[in-house]
Structures are given as structure tokens and as C-alpha cells.
Amino acid sequence: QDKLTILGSVPSLGFPFFVHMLNQIKAEAQAQGVNLVESDGQNSAPKQTADIEAALVQKVNAIVISPLDVNALAPAIEQAVQAGVPVVTIDRRVDGVEGILAHVGADNVKGGEAEAQAMVAAFPNGAKIFHLQGQPGAGPAIDRNKGVHNVLDPMKDKYQIIFEQTANFARAEALSVTEAGLAANGKPDAIICANDDMALGAVEACAARNFTDVKIYGFDALPEALVAVRDGKLAGTVEQFPGEQSRTAVQIAVAYARDKTEPKEKLVLLTPVVIGKDNLDKAERLGETK
């Protein structure tokens, strides 16, 4: 019989986080001895939908996907399910579609909560906070923002968000936005960022003003951020184990496609962990740092 073929689709290869995810999918597919059709959603729900449609025409045996948007990708995923192709979702969970084989993920809302809790733990007596949000309207931006507010809103008097702006997940924008925030409000105690790129931009802005004791939190645990955590430039970053998620998802998908092996659990949830200086070893990509 021919080799199995699976589709691996991620929201956008413009972000290192998803590059890593796809690389892990690739590696696991190789290990499992299956062909992989790669798909880059290019930050566009119609594009990711189109990729799924193209894959269905090519009769892939299974789909492993991290959906750009859980709502907008639902029809495409439903179409795949109806075509009898097993689907495993990674990272973001698509509700409302019956028959998804499994979901492997670490919820972004939970990640946002973890990030805020880490900050709260560092400042038990309250803090003045800057919050850099992701691209307005984008799924992870919404979820992470929600997580942060879930934790901080009930403690509004102690933990004041004095400056809250989007920096579109981009380092350059985070730098200039933080600069403006610092000029307008002076030094905060902590800066919570919705991804590592923005956190690293905020680091540069603080460094330029010699505000080296501001505690800055990132998200995604990219190797570069891990180095920054090790060097004390970042206070922490949220690890969601994208590699483990991806590999697990591929294993589940391939097992089912081979011989209808049902997964042991339909819902594999990895708890997000805030990586600080003391638990660096928990970080998935520590090995990539030098």
C-alpha cells in the first residue's frame, strides 16, 4: 500500500511560534513514515479553508491543524469530517463540530491567566502594569487578553493596568508603543505582553531608559525569550509546549489513519507553565538556545 499522507496546517508561518509547530509536525511525520502536505494559513481564514479544500481533493488520510480562528475554520473542518477524514486540532479547539478525532492543546485563555498570575505572585502588594495586546481581532490575541483580564479585573485596586495598547504582536511596534507608555506614565512595575516578540521589544524600550528592574512577561517561550529569561531581561514567558502538542497530534492522527486506532483521550490538555529563571529546564526549546 502507498504511504499515508497527512495535512499539517498552521495559522501563519510569519510567526516563529508556528514555524516551530510545523517543524515539529514535519519531524514527527517523518518519524512515523508518512507524507506531509504543509499548509500556511497566512493569517487568513479563507486561505486556511482553501488549503483544507485542496487537501481534501488530494485525498489526504488525516488532517492535523492549528486553526487560525475556531469559528471561521469550523465549516472547513466540518467538511473534512463529513468527507471521512480524521481531524486532530492543535492549540485552539473548534467547538460545535461533531466528530473531531481529538484535540491537543493548551488553552490561550489559561495561558493568559497563568501569565497574569505569575505577575501577581511577583508583586503580592499590587503593581502598576502596562499591557501590550496582540493583533486586534486575532484569536490568540483575544484569548490571551481575556485570560489576563480574568485574573486582574477582580483585583483592580491592587493591580492597575495604567497603559493598555496593541502592538500587533510585532517587536518594532512594541518598542515604540512602550516608549510612548514610558514617556506618558513613567516606569511601571510590570509589563505583560501577549507574545515574546512584543516582550523583547518592551525590553529594548526599558533598557533605553535604564528601567532594568521592570518585570516583563512574554508568551510562547521562544528560544530567544528563554535566553532573555536566563539573562534576567524577561521575568517570564508562558510555555504551551507546541512541540509536544504537535507531535502528539500527529501520533494520534496517524494511528487512526493506519488502523482506526481510537485515541486514548479525545482531549489532551497540557497545562501552560510560566517559565522563569528557576524552571528554565521545563522549557521545551531550551536545547535550541546557546
Binding site: A54, Q58, A72, A74, P136, I142
Partner: protein, 338 residues
């Protein structure tokens, strides 16, 4: 020689000559052949219909954009306007501005698909009209007005939906995005019908000829007694209308209206128009060209994806082929024409 090409320009159909005289079409044919050779399943009807469905969204907007660019204008706001109209349609369809994330396909309490469609196209046309008004009355160049529109409509969309999507429409609405008539996807039929109407409007009505005249030389058109301002406003209304229609179809297809929908569409849409031979300086171009331009982009994306070309390489290849397709067209024109 003169008479033959003129004939084909005037609508006489002669496939070989058409191919020969219009570079992008030839390129399109070539791409289809190449992709089919590489993977025969490329021309499976299913895949062809997929492609048609995929290009229908940007294609619809590109039809409207053809009018605008024919007048030497430009509309950068279409992507944002699409998101805005989509959100409006969702609010109407679901009957509230609540940021409901529910996927319940049945619990809709809104005003139904027709009201949603109407709301989308009316809001789109109005928004286009306002921009057209700013262009003609305030004398601000279209680039600036619609760039402003790009950020304003995005901001409004995010404000309405508070950043999140509005999802879960009833089946009658979803049919416009996912339904089939016979084997043909509904969005493709909507696109084809709209393209034919636009072709007739531009080629066979006084209004259409006035659009060309204004683009060819606005001052001369004014001196010839055309109401240039009204015509200019009308093309922005048209592109707004199509942005609204595309928004409705997209929302129906994705079963969701997203605040981030349509980001960067302006460039895809304008590319389709320009690759189709419409001049950014106005007065020259056709709906047929735009359809070919949209198809070229759609086939290229689908075909590369089909062959599992890495996404980075895809970017490089698409960029180069777009340039080559147009270069080839210029070369053909410099040699063959008449």
C-alpha cells in the same frame, strides 16, 4: 490584420486569437496545463469548483474595483469595508451586537439572511458613497480618502464586535457560502453573474462608456458635458456594494464574521484588476481582464498548494509569475497587436 483583432476586441470569440493577444489568459491556460501534468487531479471538477469558490470573494470586489480603477481612482479600504459589512451582516442576521461566540446553528433570533444581505450591501454602498463624496467635494485624492477609510472601517468593525468574531448563522444564510446549484458552488455562480452584469454595464451602457471617458481624461470628459463628479461617486458606491456582497458571501462561507477579515485584500484585489490589463492611470481595461487576473492568482495559489510547495517558495514563485504574466502581455501587445 487590423480588422481581425478589432473583431476579437469587440467581442467576437476566437479562442486561439484571444489567447495570443492577451498574455494573462495565455499564462492562465499554461498554468492549468502545467499543474494538470504535475498532478492530474488538479482538474478534478471538485478542485476547479474549489478554485472558483476561492476566487469569488476577492473576485467580486475586483469587479467593483475595475470601475474605480477605470476612472484612475483606487480604493484601499475594501478589505476593511469587507470586515465592516460582514460584521453588520452578522449583527443583523443574529439580531444583536452581542459578541456571541456560540456556534449554535439553530438558535438564531435575528432578521434572516435577506435582511443581512441587504444590510451588508447598503452599508457597503453608503460607505463607498461617503468616500466618493470626500474625493469629489473635498478634493482629497482617492488614495488618501480610502487609506483613511481602511483604518476607520477597521476601527469601527473592532468597536462593533469588540474584537471578536460573530459566528453561527442559520442554514439559509450559510447556503450562500457553502451551497451548490447542481455541482456548482453558489459563490461561484454569484461571481459569474456579477461579472456578466458588470461586463454589460461597462461595455454596452452609456454609463459604462462615461466611466471610461472620465478615466481617459477627466477634464475632457467634463468639457464634453459629462457629470464627472457623479460618475466618480458612483464607482465608489459600486465597489462598496461589491465589498458588502463579498462580505455576505464570506460570512456565509465561514459561518462567521471576523473583525480581522479582509486584511491585505486591497492588494490582492488591485492585483487582479491590474494583471487583467486595467491601467492604474484610467481609461483602459475590462471586466474580462479582471476575471482572468483573479483566476490567475487563484489558480497559482491553489496549484502551488496542491503540489505541496513550501509556503516560502510559494511567495517567491507567485511574485515572479505575476510579473512574468504581465511582462509577457506587454511583449505580446508590442508585437502582435494589429
Amino acid at each position: 490584420m487590423t480588422s481581425t483583432t478589432e473583431q476579437s476586441e469587440r467581442g467576437g470569440i476566437n479562442v486561439a486569437r484571444l489567447l495570443m493577444s492577451f498574455g494573462p489568459l495565455m499564462f492562465l491556460a499554461l498554468l492549468i496545463v502545467v499543474f494538470t501534468v504535475l498532478k492530474p487531479s488538479f482538474i478534478d471538477p471538485i478542485n476547479i469548483f474549489n478554485i472558483m469558490r476561492q476566487i469569488s470573494i476577492t473576485g467580486l470586489i475586483a469587479l467593483g474595483m475595475t470601475f474605480v480603477i477605470l476612472t484612475a481612482g483606487i480604493d484601499l479600504s475594501v478589505g476593511s469595508l469587507l470586515a465592516f459589512c460582514g460584521m453588520v451582516a452578522a449583527v443583523v442576521a443574529k439580531g444583536g451586537t452581542a459578541n456571541t461566540l456560540s456556534l449554535s446553528t439553530f438558535g438564531a433570533q435575528g432578521y434572516g439572511w435577506f435582511a443581512a444581505l441587504l444590510a451588508a450591501v447598503v452599508v457597503g454602498a453608503l460607505a463607498g458613497g461617503v468616500q466618493g463624496f470626500a474625493i469629489t467635494r473635498l478634493k482629497v485624492p482617492p488614495f488618501v480618502v480610502t487609506l483613511g477609510g481602511l483604518t476607520v472601517f477597521r476601527g469601527l468593525t473592532l468597536t462593533i464586535s469588540n474584537g471578536g468574531p460573530i459566528s453561527g448563522f442559520d442554514a439559509s444564510m450559510r447556503w450562500f457560502g457553502t451551497g451548490l446549484i447542481g455541482p456548482v458552488p453558489v459563490p461561484a455562480i454569484i461571481f459569474a453573474a456579477a461579472a456578466i452584469l458588470c461586463h454589460i454595464a461597462l461595455r454596452y451602457t452609456r454609463y459604462g462608456r462615461a466611466v471610461y471617458a472620465v478615466g481617459g481624461n477627466a477634464e475632457a470628459a467634463r468639457l464634453s458635458g459629462l457629470r464627472v463628479d457623479r460618475i466618480l461617486i458612483s464607482v465608489y458606491v459600486i465597489v462598496g456594494f461589491f465589498a458588502g456582497l463579498a462580505a455576505f458571501v464570506l460570512s456565509a462561507r465561514l459561518n462567521s464574521s471576523e473583525a480581522v477579515a479582509g486584511i491585505g485584500y486591497e492588494l490582492t484585489v488591485i492585483s487582479a484588476v491590474v494583471i487583467g490589463g486595467t491601467s492604474l492611470f484610467g481609461g483602459i481595461g475590462s471586466v474580462g481582464g479582471t476575471v482572468v487576473g483573479a483566476a490567475l492568482i487563484g489558480v497559482l495559489q491553489n496549484g502551488l498548494q496542491f503540489n505541496n510547495v513550501s509556503s516560502y517558495t510559494q511567495s517567491i514563485v507567485i511574485g515572479l509569475i505575476l510579473i512574468l504574466a504581465v511582462a509577457f502581455d506587454r511583449w505580446l501587445k508590442s508585437r502582435v497587436r494589429r
